[in-house]
Amino acid sequence: MKTITLRISRFDPAADAEPHIEEYTVRVNEGARVLHALHAVRDEHDPTLAYRYCCGSGQCGSCAVRVDGTPVLACMAEARDGMMIEPLDLPILKDLTVDMEPVIAKIARICPAPDAALPAREEIAAIKPLRDCIECLCCVSACPALQVTEFAGPTVLRQEMRLALDPRDSGDRITDAIEKGLFYCTTCKRCVEVCPKEIDVPGKAIEKLREVANRRGLTLPRHQEVARLVQETGRSVERTKTTFLEEVPEVIEPDGPVRGEVGFFVGCMFNGRVPQTALDAMEVMKRNGIRVIVPHDQVCCGSPLIRTGQTSHVEDLKRKNIEAFARRGITTVMTICAGCGATLKNDYETPFEVKDVTEILTGYGIEPPAKLDLTATYHDPCHLLRGQGIREQPRALLREAVREFVEMPSQCCGAGGGVRSGVPEEAKALGAKRDECVKATGPDVVVTVCPFCEFHIADCTDVPVKNLVTVLLEGYKKKDAEQKGSS
């Protein structure tokens, strides 16, 4: 047995205007789950504590709660000393019980055709990954799109795809999916992260439904424009100024001895819209002894097309990009765009390794920059944090570059998944939420490693937003100036 203290959000609609937090100390067994701690509170302190549970083995989806902000199944997550337990982000009935029925009612039912026969093995295999859902609604609680739109929720769209894959179903799942907010998903993958069954709703449902929608001519007009641009120019961003690729040679040699060599996949945003950041990155690489090879025949990675379901042209892009790097014998390809990096890592099968700039820099180790006299916070790009599992490397680099680093709660900025172009009002609303968060955190600068996040958050807040490589370069410049001053 061990003693733990936990805090629980309590709310009785008959007595309370709003929820309040109560603290309890209970004895639980080794290995006890959150649910067992709740039982202990109920049995030893307050029998009126309301919470749902049933199977106790992660199979029924009754007991989801938020523990320290993250939705989990109470019966499966281990109880921790000091944990805070709150209801899911849904209308509260009492204490930890929320109104699940309206969401569950949105989950489509199969409409079997009268002559429905057993699906074939491969059809079953395609459906199964979408069938494990236990309707616990963790994803619905965590989804940022739901905070600002009428999006029906990740699992609701999951079910639309599950039905679209079933030859027995006679419903019109694409029309349904669009009505339920198919284009609202930013593909931030927060739903995957909190799903007890790890169902990849954005990858296996949203993007696939968008593909079917595309085949039926239902892609959003703004997304179609991007696809046209990629098809005509190989780029998803219009050329409005001298591009990065036009400015740099194929090989950028470092200042000092060569410690390493990478190929550089620049990406459309850095190439065409914010080339200065990419140039800053090159300076940082030079300073740290890393030779950069920049194949000039590289094209768009295809991410804007895959995320919006316009995949007919993607294989061609993949082939061109893989050839561009493979032909030059490059074994490690660096990205500084989280979206490109996640696409190359997850949607490609590459004969070379793909690494984010923060992985390269922390891997080799960097010359310490002078610390800028700033308080900085870091915004996790979804496609870096969840798309590539990169959390610590950018923080480690940032800590070296500024006087003070402060954490800010992580949430999608709203730019991804074609939302900024396709549903700008949603992107704006999510950006405004980031602004609130930035204001509450109070930094001098917001640092990130994704051009989409950088561009979008900068649009939504007064606080300066910078790429990590730019901050590092400023640190080096300050260091040089200080050394010059002292000599």
Binding site: P47, S57, G58, Q59, M76, K94, I104, A116, I124, D169
Partner: protein, 553 residues
């Protein structure tokens, strides 16, 4: 309409719902019954949980037995079921089960269930214990979840009225003694009266009365207790299936089901000395012997000192390809990983756990109980599985008898619609009494579960059973206390658990032989299952006993 208590003119219940068929329970049997009954109109389904989240169907992992191949036969399924049940099964119910299981399986496939299939587009089947043919259909190891999701899809297409998180407290009866509905509490503790021409009890099992159990929190035996209080006869309540393989760690998750599919897919049992001990208990069938045999073998190994330090044995699949474990047993893999055990690389530790109640309300093949107006199906009904249930027969049972109960309840004639107010008044008085009690239901629940596990478990004897009965009666007499209106249900549930436990123990005392899952260390007579002179134990408000039967010598 409002129901008043005539002498006091006090309003009893201010919400009354009328139905042609009232179905109590939202597991596989209840939902199947509602679907079938809806063909006749006026169906109300009352679920004490959010539908699909309660009950044990959702948790059922391994599969659904149905004869689907030419090489298999209904006759062999019948014989396997009877032999596995130690010939205590009601043969007419077994006939219905094995004949109709394939049709019910076809219903599920037609309604959209995602079962595993073979390359030649047939429903895939795996071997399960005690069966001579691999006839257990499956959807990975989440077969029950697949079934309940499919049934809820189908239910949604009917005009059934669904009441969720409404808990039935007791059955209502009319002046002639027929069941005419039920009284329930909603989530906030407000009473609701349901009146119906026919009532289907599909409340599932109740092995939560044991300290170590696979059942969901909803498996508290409410239906056995409500049926008993209404005057129905129950049979074979001593027949408790202890599933051989429940988790032993962590402490709070002990008893959690480790599906028989693990053994069906090739898992082997080893004691702490790494001996494959089933060779000594059933060398022909080994790990795929019937559950009663395997559970006793494991319990014996542990009792005789050959168990692990945590009181279990090893269940090992490390010799199977990782890919097979990942696709056929994904839930097992995920659950054990959560507790730090990668079953692809290390063995699981398992021990028996109370799983299923074979006994229950006595029913006819039309699912009629011994009281007019009341039907029963699924685990709350007795007789289908005899003294030991075959793995994979429970899901089939829910569908076959759910459909039958729904059909015959749907065809039931209209009744007077009258409800005996004295009975309702009694329930409401009981609820009032909980505001004046002094004992926490949690305390009674804990003591009851320990008593049942320690004194009415796998190995039994008369002194222990009598002591258990004394304990249960003492616990049942405590004055339970509800801390608020929403806690009234906790008190009612604990009361039901006490009733169910007492039915189990009383029937265990009535059967003097060892039969299937029921083992009396002090058995006064030695019988062979096929020729035993004993039939069902029976118990009701009116009488209790054990049937004698004539068996050809």
């Amino acid at each position: 309409m409002v129901l008043y208590n005539a002498p006091t003119n006090k309003m009893l219940v201010d919400e009354i719902v009328d139905a042609h068929v009232l179905v109590i329970g939202s597991g596989g049997a209840g939902v199947r019954a509602a679907i079938e009954a809806s063909r006749y109109g006026g169906v109300v389904l009352v679920s004490k949980t959010i539908a699909g989240k309660g009950g044990c169907t959702t948790m059922a992992e391994g599969g659904f037995n149905a004869v689907l191949r030419d090489e298999d036969s209904i006759q062999v399924h019948r014989e396997d079921t009877l032999s596995g049940g130690a010939y205590l099964n009601d043969p007419a119910l077994v006939d219905a089960l094995v004949r109709e299981a394939p049709e019910r399986m076809a219903d599920l496939v037609r309604w959209g269930a995602v079962f595993d299939v073979t390359d030649d587009r047939m429903v895939a089947q795996r071997p399960f214990g005690g069966q001579r043919f691999p006839r257990t259909c499956y959807a990975g190891d989440r077969t029950g979840h697949e079934i309940i999701m499919t049934l809820l899809d189908r239910l949604d297409a009917t005009d059934t009225q669904l009441y969720q998180e409404v808990s039935v407290l007791d059955l209502a009866k009319d002046e002639d003694g027929a069941v005419s509905g039920a009284i329930a509490l909603d989530r906030d503790g407000n009473p609701i009266l349901f009146r119906a021409d026919a009532t289907v009890l599909a409340t599932g099992g109740g092995t939560q009365v044991y300290d170590i159990s696979t059942n969901s929190a909803a498996g508290t035996g409410d239906g056995f207790a409500m049926g008993y209080r209404a005057g129905a006869e129950l049979i074979d309540m001593e027949m408790i299936q202890f599933h051989p393989t429940g988790a032993v760690y962590p402490y709070d998750a002990r008893g959690r089901l480790v599906t028989e599919a693990v053994r069906g897919e090739g898992g082997i049992l080893l004691n702490a000395r790494r001996e494959r001990f089933m060779e000594r208990y059933d060398p022909a069938r080994m790990e795929l012997s019937t559950r009663d045999v395997v559970a006793r073998a494991i319990a014996t190994e542990v009792l005789e000192g050959r168990g692990t330090s945590r009181g279990g044995v090893y269940l090992d699949v490390t010799h199977l390809p990782a890919e097979k474990i990942e696709t056929r047993l994904p839930v097992m893999l995920e659950q054990f990983l959560t507790y730090g055990v990668d079953i692809r690389r290390e063995p699981m530790e398992v021990a028996p756990t109370a799983h299923h109640i074979m006994g229950g309300l006595r029913i006819t093949p039309e699912c009629r109980t011994t009281i007019p107006g009341l039907f029963a199906c699924g685990e709350v009904a007795g007789g289908v599985h005899g003294a030991n249930r075959l793995g994979g027969n429970a899901l089939a049972d829910t569908q076959v008898f759910g459909k039958r109960a729904g059909e015959f309840a749907g065809k039931a004639p209209a009744r007077s619609g009258r409800v005996d107010p004295a009975r309702i008044d009694g329930v409401l008085r009981m609820l009032d009494g909980f505001s004046e009690g002094d004992t926490s239901p949690a305390d009674v629940r804990r003591d009851l579960k320990l008593t049942m596990w320690n004194r009415a478990g796998i190995f039994r004897n008369a002194p222990d059973l009598s002591a258990a009965l004394g304990d249960i009666r003492e616990l049942a007499d405590r004055r339970l206390c509800a801390a608020s209106a929403t806690n009234l249900l906790d008190c009612c549930t604990v009361r039901n658990m006490c009733t169910t436990a007492s039915l189990i123990v009383r029937c265990a005392l009535l059967r003097p032989e060892n039969r299937g899952a029921h083992v009396r260390r002090d058995a006064s007579v030695t019988t062979e299952p096929a020729t035993s002179p004993f039939g069902h134990t029976y118990i009701s408000l009116a009488h209790a006993g054990i049937e004698q039967r004539e068996v050809a010598a």
